[in-house]
Symmetry: C2
Subunit: 261 residues, 2 copies
DNA sequence: TTTATAAATACCATATTTGATACTTAAGGA
DNA sequence: TCCTTAAGTATCAAATATGGTATTTATAAA
């Protein structure tokens, strides 16, 4: 199953997506030739692709003879997702309350195809340039509070499979790279009901996260709180842990979860 | 210039986008046959399109033999827009402050291809089910506070062109449908420096908006505040108007705008 | 003004994708 | 259990998109 299983795929669409992803990765407006030099598509074909994407709002051309950028239609389509099981809607109130109470950055994440994805974010008042971008994905479950929560609630088989797939690469010097240590951490996470990460993904950032369950009792996401180490001392762990648990529990209730069924 | 100007377009891409837009419009997960029945693409081709889009994360298939939905990649691409001239970043702080001070819904909008687009939103504490979705577009400049601000700052030629194109259709019984009345309203908007809308787009909703300028003095967006009529009396107009103006001015300053150059 | 460069258009033979038909697999109901 | 329906796979001739080359237009520099 390669990138383009010639029989079951549409090459033209693959190319269009290559173009979109390249432009998106550049994070700025690009000229025709910049795109041309980077995507390995013949000139004439590239023109047709760009025209088509522009005509549908998937790309925008700034001026007449101009630069290309990702189209605003992505804003619309991105916000119209069936709310990943209504999770975003259900979580909103609790997240907002938590944000106002703490002033910290509040995040809503979920697991998708064995990767953590940031679904929603309320940025804190701190001036960190450390925000992840909504929609970001992280495969390193072992290095993130949210990931630890997922690992803690996963059935052991899946946990082993996922961990074997990605290994325990170090993201910072604090990342847990030892399996025994990680297992202990996972157990702790199970016991206290929330996950903690101490600069394991990024230097200078601490984070806690607690699980949200839906009406079937399935673990569907996490509400997290992150802050710079200056404003999130290790002594604050229990306080913030309790807070995210509370927010997550409220969200679960919103989704119809009942703890003793 | 029809939908598919046979020479300058890629039909396969048009079809893929048709599929994406149909699935998005459904607002829920769809089966293969539901899609099949609605997009006028032969079975075999549709399968190839769906496979391709799924393999790139533009669509997701829930279970093995399952339902299709918009892929989470749209979240990522939607949030990675080069920030529409950094507007969202620049506006964030002022919007947040305004949100905390008032508890109302704060919105950031811009004009794109003669349509208003909602770029960012901080939802208020009120439980209105009236939120627009980020990325939504509205062509009815005459019925929205933001639109009035745009009209007020547009050069008269463009204003006439835009208004002729869409006319003055009534969205509610309060919508201004008389050109003389609208001109007076535009003038008022110019004088007081913010736009006002009194249930002209939606029954029960009032809204104010003020313009944001970039370092070139170009009008690049609006910060708005909206609320239900119960919590936004007509007497509050000046108060909220002053507040959005202040927020918009702060944002303009953030972008490097100086009032007397 | 001319020149140089980038972007977009035109044309058409050829290689590629397409889609009708037929077949396989899976799931749910009787 | 078998039957029915939905989803997906295989094949290959016909139809169509593709892309090399040459031309045109616009923008920026000389």
């Amino acid at each position: 199953m390669g990138q383009n299983d010639n029989q079951n795929a549409v090459p033209a669409i693959h190319r269009a997506i290559d173009v979109i992803e390249f432009i998106s990765s550049a994070q700025r407006e690009l000229s025709f030739s910049e795109i041309m030099d980077n995507v390995d598509i013949p000139r004439q074909s590239l023109i047709r692709i760009l025209n088509t994407l522009c005509s549908r709002g998937f790309l925008d051309k700034s001026s007449q003879r101009g630069l290309y950028r990702i189209g605003l239609k992505f804003l619309y389509l991105g916000h119209g997702l069936p709310d990943k099981f209504e999770l975003r809607t259900a979580a909103w109130k609790a997240m907002k309350a938590l944000s106002q109470k703490t002033g910290k950055t509040i995040e809503l994440s979920s697991l998708d195809r064995d990767q953590l994805i940031l679904l929603e974010q309320i940025r804190g008042s701190e001036e960190m340039a450390l925000y992840s971008r909504v929609g970001s994905v992280i495969p390193y479950l072992h290095a993130v509070s949210v990931g630890k929560v997922y690992l803690a609630l996963m059935d052991p088989d899946k946990r082993r499979r996922v961990l074997r797939k990605i290994g325990l690469p170090a993201m910072t010097k604090h990342t847990i790279t030892d399996m025994a240590r990680l297992e202990k951490e996972i157990q702790e996470t199970q016991e206290r009901g929330f996950g903690f990460e101490d600069q394991e993904l990024r230097e200078g950032v601490r984070r806690v996260a607690a699980p949200v369950f839906n009406s079937d009792g399935k673990h569907v996401g996490c509400i997290g709180l992150s802050a710079a180490i200056f404003s999130f001392e290790r002594d604050d762990l229990d306080k913030y842990g309790r807070m995210v648990r509370e927010a997550a529990e409220k969200t679960s209730a919103e989704l119809g979860y009942v703890s003793n069924p």
